[in-house]
């Protein structure tokens, strides 16, 4: 990788750092806001997790170079995220299913 490429990378890292700081500030501020939705907590959870996901994506794509990574890594991670979703949501759906009138 040439010096020119590296300088470009460094500028990018600085930019992402600033975005992450802004994201952090947003998350903290958002947690103090009341949400005008039926279930305030659900709103807060949604906003908080969305911002976290964006920050996470910035770290993964830029610091971990996931954007320019090879296809095979993408496939492995896609598979992992699919199984992760199962693990996170099936027990939840289970409980919700139980709370219905069956």
């Amino acid at each position: 990788m040439s010096v020119k490429d590296m300088t470009h990378h460094i500028a990018n890292y600085r930019k992402i750092f600033v975005f992450l700081l802004i994201g952090t500030a947003l998350t903290v501020t958002a947690s103090y806001m009341e949400f005008n939705v039926q279930n305030s907590i659900a709103g807060a959870v949604f906003v908080g997790l969305t911002i976290a996901a964006i920050k996470g994506y910035l770290v993964a794509a830029n610091f971990m170079h996931l954007n320019s990574e090879k296809k095979i890594i993408h496939w492995i991670l896609l598979l992992t995220v699919f199984f992760l979703s199962l693990l996170l949501f099936i027990p939840l759906l289970w409980d919700l299913n139980l709370m219905s009138h069956y």
């Binding site: 095979i72 598979l79 992992t80 199962l86 693990l87 027990p91 289970w94 299913n97 139980l98």
Partner: protein
Amino acid sequence: MSDSHHEESFWRKYIFSTDHKTIGIQYGITALLFLFFGFSLMMVMRWQLAFPDQAVPVIGGLIQWLAELNGFASIGNLPSDLYNVFGAMHGTIMIFLGVVPLVVGAFGNYVVPLQIGAPDMAFPKLNMTSYWVYFIGGVIMLVSFFLPGGAANSGWTSYPPLSVIATTGQTFWLLGMVFLITSSLLGSINIIVTIIQLRAPGLTWMRLPFFVWAQFVTSFLLVLAFPPLEAAGFFQLMDRVFDTSFFLPSGLVVGGEALDVSGGGSPLLWQHLFWFLAHPEVYVLILPGMGVIAEIIANNTRKPIWGYKSLVYSVVFLGFMSFIVWAHHMFMTGMGQGMSIFFQTTTMIISVPSVIILSCFMLSLWGGSIRFNTPMLFALGWIPMFGIGGLTGLPLGLSTLDIHLHDTYYVIGHFHYVVAPGTIFAIFAGIYYWFPKMTGKMLDETLGKIHFFFSFIFMNGIFWPMLIQGMAGVSRRLADGGESYAHAQGTLHLNEFMSYSAWLLAIAQIPFIINLIRTLLRKKAAEPDPNPWRATTIEWTDTTSPPMGHGNFEKVPTVYRGPYEYSVPGDSSDFTPQTSKLIKDR
């Protein structure tokens, strides 16, 4: 072309070796010893089931000593508290210390680099670490037998709240599992990277021996499914050691007293996290075995395996589906209809690739020039046995039938058919098959056939009656074998029959042990035949027996063909090695 710049010390060569062949043998010996130990536990349990509360013959004194060490009363019999210990540890040891280290750690480590033409695994030092972490986990499990209260006794499934309030042995179980899971993770990462990165030139994905595909899928299962159990293990450790309530519900009463914990936890949480691993785990148990069977059938029918592509697609699909069926172990926990339908459906779907694989193996026999040597006998015996195992799984996967069969001996019969005359037959087949590659010597055929014949008979003698007892409603994990239950009375007589079958099965292993010892002690030929089975895959065709150290091959092999080119028209011999140039290019 080996680097001989220093002579390795005994310790570096045999104990802390980074050579995949040495590590494979280390795994193999350790795992076989654990298998034998787990088998012994079961033999004592079968005495209690056949002759309840009578002193165990020969080793009664030892049982009494152990029972009293653990704080249980005994006159040389197996008291129910110790029965529960033996039951939980039999399952744990067979699965995590026996079968998986054998099929993945031993066969995977030894054979995969050779079959793909690689000098070693991708990370040799990591490989060595994996073995020693497994070893430590095993030691922790064994040591727990000597604690007050004995080793873990809440089943290999360790369900809370029972496991949380259980004796100290359970904490050791959890610690041991953390080590075993870590070992597994490191080992499976090694296998995946090795297969992806170190295939010899010309060895494309669809030219891989099916054994390698099976190991590849198995390792993915281990990498992705084990960690949630590790998380659950930490939670249970927290519950036991720091009095948290991850798994303890509010208002729990033990022995008439309310438990002094915060409550608010969920026993179901453990079950979800446990079975999320434990279902893929059963495919970890069988997949490498299927790989072994494929190699042996192709080799001993002298024709290519039927449906190679179907086999590959099926095993990949099977691996994927194995993550989506876990709650069929939880049908009786009060799940709603939606959940029940979902998991029942996925469970039925997952039987399809298994059937395809079994069918491909059976179809491979048609028109073959079958050689009935010992590996092939075990492979042929495997087919109907795995068939029974698979078929008996189907009623369990249907939630309405599971109402009657859950937690009965039917379940035990089902899964033992798959692992005992299933996986263990595949293991025996693999040992007889690859023994000449590892040592340069063939195991004796007559002793092998005796071993097979009697093992086959007695395996069925143990596990078939379990299906009958289960259908009669006899529950599992009962120290009295069902004696105190009216509905069990009609099938109680089967207990004695099964126990005798178990002890006779033990005796049937003696020809095998004698065979191993005699052959190991025998002097190797000056230049052993590197390919006595006249096989096509790289481990047989391109290196010595045993393979040369530090690199396995004189030079990197180049692959020109698929893995099972037997009886190729136009070729002078009935097998054409993978590394053999195409006829037109010779």
